[in-house]
Symmetry: C2
């Protein structure tokens, strides 16, 4: 179930504006712009799915992680995982893509200073369909910048059997709702 | 300075074999195959450089991290970093690529169960040339598998001014030298 629909309509009034930012996201018509102040600890967002293909796994790995268990089907078949597995970085990339397609932080993301411990408890193989479950685990205002807050999110990437293939925690800087920031400044 | 040259010649005798694995790595003629037993805590490996381009930053971000500060030069110019910056995941990908091109773990890598905390202390911009400094920070034998060891490596990615743009620690499973593993088994 997705919590991203019908939250509320917030014009924002920042320089990007909702109509422009809506153009940027796939399926944007379903999602309203949210700011730091609109999130609650414990909220959960479940992404759409994406199916990994042998071609996609090999192409990604050829470019960024050219190790034979990611690029060579014959090598991988005789190897300890008994078949081709995706680069962990590829799983991270798909996780990020699926998360961004939800558009949850689209209006308010100010980037990330880093990623917490990333775990790959199970291999990702061709034909696996991945989905990302994102929980808001911490929210706090920035001490130095009144226009922003800091969110800590936990993301678990699962396959079609519900098995966990990746887990990570990420810190993201989020814009406050313009009206909130303006009140504080005044 | 690279420590990857002229270490020693080790035939190995595993199913891949040195000639095949040499074909896989760029510049492989300079690098000898190393196994878990050949590394020491404190060893350092410095990669070659790779220059980030505006086109490369936008192309990567369009595919995996389509946020406007990574894909839209005009938006990014007015934004807090004052110009286009690379996706953190792109910097991770370049780091992995540069590290693998060194071939240090080519003969012995058995993959990674995860990545430690990843930090992006400074933005990466078009025309930045990145380089990766890898330190072996921990080596221990696997308790459950006599044919492998576990290495913890710290990687710092720097730009052309020597400024740190990324830092991470990764755990990697490494094959023991076949002769060592055979002695233990015997």
């Amino acid at each position: 179930m997705s919590h991203t629909r019908h939250i509320h309509h917030q014009n924002g009034g920042d320089s990007v504006g909702p109509s422009l930012s809506r153009q940027r996201a796939p399926g944007a018509g379903l999602v309203s712009d949210r700011y730091y102040d609109d999130f609650k600890v414990g909220e959960r967002f479940v992404s759409g799915g994406m199916t990994m293909t042998e071609a996609g796994i090999i192409e990604f790995a050829r470019q960024w992680d050219p190790q034979p268990f990611h690029t060579d089907v014959e090598f991988a078949r005789k190897w300890s995982f008994g078949g081709l597995i995706a680069s962990g970085l590829h799983t991270m990339a798909v996780t990020l893509k699926l998360w961004l397609e939800q558009g949850v932080f689209r209006a308010c993301s100010l980037g990330s200073p880093g990623i917490g411990e990333v775990q790959f408890p199970r291999p990702v193989r061709p034909a696996d369909t991945l989905r990302v479950v994102t929980d808001i685990v911490e929210l706090r205002l920035s001490a130095s910048r009144p226009d922003r807050g800091i969110a800590r999110i936990r993301q678990v990437t699962i396959n079609q059997r519900g098995e966990q293939v990746m887990e990570q925690e990420t810190t993201v800087f989020l814009k406050r709702r313009p009206v909130m920031a303006a009140n504080l400044a005044g």
